[in-house]
Amino acid sequence: MTVKQNFLISKRLNWSIRLQGIILLTICLSCLIYPTAGNTDGLDKATLKALYTYKFGKFSKWPKEKVNLSTKKFEYCILGSSPFSQTTMNMMMGKTVQGLPLTIKVFGSGLIPEEVLSACHILFIGQSEKYRLSILFSRLKNLAVLTVSDIRNFSYQGGMITLIEDEGKIRFQINPISLQQAGISMSSKIMELAEIIEDGQQL
């Protein structure tokens, strides 16, 4: 191989490297410019309910005492039969709410000690508990726990947020009196999205 041939090969290689560099740079720039994906399209209703429930935490404010007593964790409790799959819960585990790492606690059906319930920030109540709601609400009375459920007329019975399916979308009802009694304030950004239930009446 002559020196001239060597020179021509090295020249071709240089051009090839340059072309690759340009393509790589273009891809990188495209990645920078193109926004990251994160919409809820394609998720099943149960996953959406799980995501919505924990996102309520981002729009709610708990009393100061609750914040001070907390164990530097945002506790997401599930009571009774859970509609959420393990995959969904794994996906949620890495999230943060109000700067606190999200932890998920799942409790079986039955009576849960008041001390355990008081540590929860959000309590999702499964369909299995729809007949024990009155007892549960009496236990939760005076506890700053945001109660969410997909049980029909949950907010009419004294629950705080009810997730309902409407024309393929997840909507929710809010009982502001229950929230007020628990000392939890909800952002108006949520309130204007929700169906407000007051004193067992739809407003």
Partner: protein, 492 residues
């Protein structure tokens, strides 16, 4: 080049106005442009800032709708933009760039446009639109973005109004500047125009007594002062020229008078000289004729013939001496005024020459009192000739026992030569002794060759030096005093 040539022919006033107005107008127009540009930029920034605030508020309000995927509520939130007429459209997008909700007519939706950098680029490229894109965050997590596009009709209207206002202010400023410049240019042009007027007046009327009023203490003041000084110098020179001219006229008149008098004198002198010569020559010729008649009558008597021949020869010699003296006098008079005169110390000249007289006249004693340092303008040989004649005259008339007094001294602005001798007195008419062929010698001392030329020569030499000679009797009794006065060059 032609423009520059035109400017060079403009008056000073017009040039000053042009310079000042050009400078002021340039400054005002530049300022106006800067103000308009600044106003346009600030207005655009203000609108952009308003849109950013609006986008932030609407984005914040839309966090719930975005989080819970409620596009209807988001549209309701965006509908608040209907109050602002300048908004073309607004879009809320999800975090992945997908369309979520909108307000107004979106031209052609393209997710790639939802970037702040590209929005800014669009704002620059599309001059009539402002694109604002703000990200929507929920607890530091980007959950979407809002994009608001506004037209610039309001801004353009404001800028146009502002331009009209600035143009009116600029025109007012230029008008005021024009009036101020019209007044201010006089500070420079007025002194120069005054100078020009004065110069024209001086050129026309030749009146160098004119002066330009000067109230400036700068370069223009110096120029006016210089012009006034120049006029003053010309006026002074003219005055001196006029004085010189008058003096010259007087001198010419005086000289003409002198010449007329001298001419008359000369005519009289020539007449008297003719009479004198006629008389003397007649006497000599009569003596020769008588001698010849007697020789003819007594030609046999040799002794008598010799005596008569002697008498005839004497008469002939007398005639020759007479003619020689007349010739010398004429030559001296003609040459005196042509001879060069130089500055000389009159006292020193007299002292130096008196030593010679002591050797020539050993029997005569001289009493000398001469002041040195009296400088006159004169011809030294002629002045020595003058001294010779006066000393010779004094020696001839003096009593040999008494010394001849010779003195030179200063009298006012003149040098005086005084020679006193104690001897024969002077005739009553003192002036006549200086005339030609006048001699008042004692008959015993008179010789045949003496025809009264000495004092005449003294008078000629004194007058040719601008001086004069006078003769007077001595106060002490017998004796004469001759006084020659000559003009000193520098009396001090």
């Amino acid at each position: 080049m032609n423009l520059f040539y035109t400017f060079t022919h403009w008056s000073l006033k017009r040039k000053l106005m042009l310079i000042m107005m050009t400078t002021c107008c340039t400054a005002i127009i530049l300022m106006a442009l800067l103000v308009i540009v600044n106003q346009a930029v600030n207005s655009q920034r203000a609108i952009q800032q308003q849109l950013i605030t609006l986008a932030d508020v609407l984005g914040s309000r839309s966090t719930g709708a975005l989080t819970f995927d409620d596009s209807d509520t988001a549209i309701e939130i965006l509908d608040a933009l209907a109050l602002k007429s300048n908004i073309i459209y607004a879009v809320i997008e999800r975090a992945n760039g997908n369309y979520f909700a909108s307000f107004g007519d979106i031209p052609e939706y393209n997710a790639n446009h939802t970037n702040e950098f590209l929005a800014l680029l669009q704002s620059i490229l599309l001059a009539n639109e402002i694109h604002v894109v703000r990200d929507i965050y929920l607890e530091k997590e980007r959950i979407g973005s809002i994009r608001i596009v506004s037209n610039l009709d309001e801004l353009q209207g404001d800028v146009l109004n502002y331009m009209v206002l600035v143009a009116m202010i600029s025109i007012t400023c230029i008008t005021i500047t024009f009036f101020i410049c019209t007044r201010l240019q006089k500070l420079v042009s007025q002194p120069i125009l005054n100078l020009q007027k004065a110069m024209d007046s001086v050129s026309e009327n030749k009146d160098y007594s004119l002066r330009v009023a000067n109230a400036e203490e700068n370069e223009l003041g110096a120029l006016v002062d210089g012009f006034n000084q120049m006029l003053q110098q010309i006026q002074f020179r003219d005055k001196r020229l006029a004085e010189h001219s008058m003096r010259l006229e007087k001198t010419v008149k005086a000289r003409s008078l002198q010449l007329t008098v001298a001419n008359k004198k000369r005519i009289l002198w020539l007449e008297s000289m003719a009479r004198f010569l006629k008389h003397e020559l007649k006497n000599s010729s009569v003596g020769i004729k008588t001698s010849l008649d007697l020789i003819e009558r007594h030609n046999t008597e040799k002794d008598k013939v010799d005596v008569y021949l002697g008498r005839a020869r004497k008469s002939m010699a007398n005639m020759n001496a007479l003619l020689q003296s007349a010739g010398d006098a004429s030559n001296l008079e003609a040459s005196l005024y042509k001879e060069e005169q130089k500055p000389l110390d009159f006292g020193a000249t007299v002292i130096n020459h008196l030593e010679v007289y002591s050797s020539i006249y050993p029997d005569i004693s001289f009493d000398i009192n001469c002041q040195k340092g009296l400088v006159i303008l004169g011809n030294e040989p002629r002045l020595i000739q003058l001294l010779d004649k006066l000393i010779s005259n004094a020696v001839e008339h003096c009593d040999h026992c008494a010394p001849i007094e010779v003195s030179v001294k200063q009298s006012l602005q003149q040098a005086q030569l005084i020679i006193n001798d104690k001897g024969d007195g002077l005739p009553e008419d003192k002036k006549i002794i200086f005339d030609l062929f006048v001699s008042f010698r004692n008959p015993e001392r008179k010789t045949d060759e003496n025809f009264g030329l000495g004092l005449y020569i003294v008078k000629l030499i004194a007058e040719s030096h601008g001086g004069q000679v006078t003769a007077n009797d001595l106060n002490t009794g017998t004796g004469a005093r001759f006084e020659v006065t000559l003009q000193l060059i520098n009396p001090n």
